[in-house]
């Protein structure tokens, strides 16, 4: 099932176009990341599909229209947008009770949720006494009230310390294992690479590219190869049909192979020609390089 369809979405703030004719589709079971630098329109996009911002143009649809367009669909979704927003004068349980009432969820196991986000020991403390990390974790816990099948996270690790970041990512992956669909925005490649199955890269509100994280990652394989005599190696490799190009670096050669080939082919060729390799390393082009390439071009 298509969980979310976004069609030609546009939002302008004065002269600035925050979201520009955006099209996206999220399928059930995907962990879909929107990746883009700060101010690229990620939060605005999420704000629109979550009903707090009105678009100037375009449409979106949840669950193929099964639960309507507004609040009915949103009750099937757990979402955290930007900052954790709770009533500061209530404790964790009381705040989750409000969420449960809104979601019309009964028999919610608040203790289990608080345990999952590591807040069980502070469940009776008022929200205003929480540290930023605890607030963020409560917000992630709140998204799980009513056991929704779709979760939305906007910069879920923002402002957290390294331990907190690791915890939150682990929590998200734990949730993902339950077969839930996750739609998250992040400006950190590393995060999307580690967590997401699919990614859309946006800049200045424009969709630059989208697809499986793996496919964006694997487009080009770079192989570092070394031998005692680099010139002979280079001569042999330059005749190979599966190589695109070879660059001579001090002590090693950098070879780009065509799609479908790998370090295996390079090694096999070297063996056939009687060359002993002193170095062989396959490096996939990282999403980061891709991301930087794409964003600097535009």
């Amino acid at each position: 099932m298509k969980i979310l369809e976004i069609n030609n979405l546009t939002k302008r703030y004065g002269r600035i176009t925050a979201v520009n004719n955006l099209n996206l589709e999220v399928e059930q079971g995907q962990i879909y990341g929107i990746l883009g630098p700060n101010g690229s329109g990620k939060t605005t996009t999420l704000g629109i599909v979550l009903g707090i911002i009105f678009p100037d143009n375009g449409t979106f649809r949840w669950f193929e229209g099964q639960y309507g367009t507004g609040a009915g669909a949103l009750r099937q979704i757990g979402a955290l947008l930007e900052t954790p927003n709770f009533y500061p004068y209530m404790n964790a349980i009381q705040n989750l009770e409000v969420v449960a009432h809104i979601k019309r969820a009964s028999n919610v196991d608040f203790d289990a949720i608080l345990k999952l986000v590591n807040l069980a020991h502070r469940k009776d403390a008022l929200f205003k006494t929480y540290s930023l990390g605890m607030k963020q974790r409560l917000a992630i816990g709140a998204t799980m009230v009513g056991d929704p099948s779709v979760l939305i996270f906007d910069e879920p690790t923002n402002g957290l310390d390294p331990t907190g970041i690791a915890e939150v990512r682990a929590t998200i992956l734990k949730i993902a294992e339950q077969g839930k669909t996750i739609f998250m925005a992040s400006h950190m490649l590393d995060e999307v690479e580690k967590v997401c199955s699919h990614v859309a890269i946006i800049k200045n509100g424009v969709l630059l590219t989208s697809g499986e994280v793996g496919s964006l990652l694997n487009k080009e394989v770079t192989i570092e190869v070394g031998a005692q005599n680099l010139d002979i190696l280079r001569g042999v490799l330059s005749e190979a049909s599966f190589l695109k190009d070879i660059v001579l670096k001090p002590n090693i050669l950098i070879a780009h192979v065509k799609e479908g080939f790998s370090s295996y082919d390079v090694n096999q060729l070297a063996i056939e020609k009687g060359i002993v390799l002193t170095h062989l390393n396959e490096r996939k082009q990282r999403l980061e390089e891709e991301f930087l390439q794409i964003t600097s071009k535009n």
């Binding site: 707090i52 009915g72 949103l74 927003n85 009533y87 004068y89 009381q94 409000v98 009432h101 979601k103």
Partner: protein, 270 residues
Amino acid sequence: MTNIFYLLKLEWLKVKSYMPFLVLSGMYLVLLPLFMSMGKSFNLPKELGGIDAYYMFPTIWQSLAYVGNWLSYFIMGFIAVLTVTNEFSNRTLRQNIISGVSRSDFYLSKLYFLMAVAFVGTFYYALVAMLFGFFNTETIYASKMTENIDYIPRYFLMCLSFMSLGLMLGVLFRRTGIALFLYFAYIMFIERIIRFLIIGKLFGSTAALFGPMSATNDLTPFPIPKMIKGMTEGSEMRIFLTPTESILTASISMVLFFYVAYFLLKTRDL
């Protein structure tokens, strides 16, 4: 109907541990009878009917409503402003919508809540008035007791009218400080200045009486004893709107204020 209780419960979950609401409610419950009994120490000349008459049926309905008017102006308006600016400043309005409250339902939850507060406030007013009346009237006739019974719905309207202004200003300005300041300033000064300096000059002194909040105050005016009324009658100068005029004016402005709040909540980005 189930939606009303569902939304009222949502509000209840939000306010039951909200200290400003609890303090304001407590103040209302304590101060209404307290201020009323403090009036007993005033020494009113016998020619004006004496102070005791204000505590007897049927005048107690009027005098307690007058005290309640001042208290409601302060407390009901305060509650109405807070109930919505609190949601803006904690960004919980956003979160409520994201979690799955529709904008209309969010608005209705506030409206129902304010109506419930006005209802409880009015019920308490009626209760206190009855008690004062019973203990201060020597011979109680049913007819005397119920003579000013129309003050009960008027009191309810007065509470809601104050709250409609508070809610609108809260939604409009989002910030507690600004909204509260404007709420108090509008009723105390701004509307009076507009009424007397602009409306009065342009359309005459009678037209100047038709301010939304002035009409709200006129719903439960200071009880002028019959004798003084006789003295002022016949003079051209009017001080109060008639009950019908005040009910109509306050109702129209109240609906307008509530509608503006609804429109803003329904159409603005959050």
